[in-house]
């Protein structure tokens, strides 16, 4: 699938017109991953923002316990086609707080974080639309996390 089409189907870029999508598509490259592949690890530099074109990706967090041998990775979310992950790369240069592991063969669009941030600063209209879309994505994730929390707390009481 062409980069522009993948961007068009992602809610993060809902507010952008064709010309703006072209400018972001220029910063992106398509990538393919095998099932079981780790796209990025927890603590690695957040260089790219990813959009899933096909397949599903588990976002995992390391659960640290007092005993190192009993610490394990816990899946906190699973993202699928049209979803965004690694979105902290759009805001500032930092490390990934989660690991991304492919549950199936995955096709994704990787957008370079530094170039994207430069574009968002240089063109305020694009910057406003993308950051508005990002807030919606983050709010939606928070909502889902609340559901998980409630779901699992309800059965434990």
């Amino acid at each position: 699938m062409a980069s522009k089409q993948i961007l068009k189907e992602c809610h993060l870029f809902d507010g952008l017109n064709g010309a703006a999508l072209d400018r972001i598509a220029d910063l992106a490259q398509t990538k393919e991953y095998d099932a079981g592949a780790t796209i990025f690890s927890e603590g690695s530099p957040a260089d790219d923002l990813f959009i899933v074109a096909s397949g599903r990706v588990a976002l995992q967090m390391q659960l640290r316990t007092a005993l190192p041998q009993s610490s394990k990775r816990v899946t906190v979310d699973v993202v699928g086609p049209h979803d965004v992950f690694g979105w902290s790369a759009a805001i500032e240069h930092r490390e990934h707080s989660l690991a991304a592991v492919c549950l199936e063969p995955v096709g994704a669009l990787a957008i370079g974080g530094p170039k994207l941030r430069s574009l968002l600063k240089a063109d305020q209209q694009i910057g406003y639309e993308v950051l508005s879309g990002l807030i919606k994505v983050v709010a939606s994730r928070l909502d889902e996390t609340r559901h998980v929390l409630i779901s699992e707390r309800m059965v434990s009481v």
């Binding site: 099932a35 079981g36 397949g55 599903r56 990775r73 899946t75 549950l103 199936e104 559901h147 779901s151």
Partner: protein, 239 residues
């Protein structure tokens, strides 16, 4: 002394009864393999794996971690964690995480469907299509979760020979009917052609006869039209 082949004991984990039923059907078709337990969530799957110690564990990646309440939506993100936990606790077991399982079951499989499991593993460089019973002879590293997709191949139902013969006879009969109709059409057209030729001959004879009669009549009486014109010219001059 004969070497005794131990049976392959399989544990299935999926929230969906249909998915578990399909997988149980796949296992049943494997010689020497049988299902020792089924779990509808991750917590139960890990508990059953501890107590039953299966050889093969097949986990749907869309697995809820725990049992939910009807009024609260379940998170179905527990498949990978369940597979990893079991793989760590039972390193000798083959733990298979099926990525597209629910989709394959609902979109492709039917009562007569056969299924194979395709295994992907980036670290072990594996991309194989195998049956569950063959997993014990696999070359994968112990303690590793295998990421797999379910490939469902359609299998045509068994047919009675008489049905096949009858279908062939019906086909040949159909051809005979079509040929017969073609011949009939040809004959009808041939008859029409004879009538058309006769009509043509009749028309030719009539036209010849008319022409002969007309020629005889024109010899007997000069053309009146010519005469009248001359007469008119004369009358103009006279005026």
């Amino acid at each position: 002394m004969q070497t005794q082949t131990r049976a392959t004991r399989v544990l299935l984990a999926s929230e969906q009864p249909d998915v578990r039923q399909l997988l149980a059907g796949v296992v049943q078709r494997e010689p020497g393999a049988f299902v020792v337990g089924q779990a509808e969530n991750g917590v139960k799957a890990v508990a059953l794996a501890r107590s039953l110690r299966p050889d093969v564990v097949v986990v749907d990646s869309c697995l809820p971690h725990v049992v939910g309440l009807d009024s609260v939506p379940l998170s179905r993100i527990g498949g990978l964690d369940t597979a990893t936990s079991i793989s760590q606790e039972l390193p000798a077991a083959r733990v298979i995480l099926l990525g597209n399982l629910s989709m394959a079951v609902y979109e492709k499989s039917g009562p007569g469907g056969d299924a194979q499991v395709r295994l992907y593993s980036q670290t072990a460089k594996i991309d194989l299509t195998v049956r569950l019973g063959e997993l014990r002879r696999g070359t994968v590293t112990e303690g590793e979760v295998l990421f797999a997709n379910l490939e469902v191949t359609e299998r045509a139902p068994a047919r009675h020979k008489a049905v096949e013969v009858a279908e062939k006879a019906a086909f040949v009969s159909g051809l005979a009917i079509m040929g017969g109709l073609g011949l009939m059409l040809t004959l009808i057209l041939a008859q029409a052609g004879v009538l058309l030729a006769l009509a043509g001959v009749a028309g030719l004879l009539v036209s010849l006869a008319v022409r002969t009669v007309a020629a005889m009549m024109s010899k007997a009486a000069p053309a009146e039209a010519d005469y009248e014109v001359k007469g008119a010219k004369k009358s103009v001059k006279a005026a």
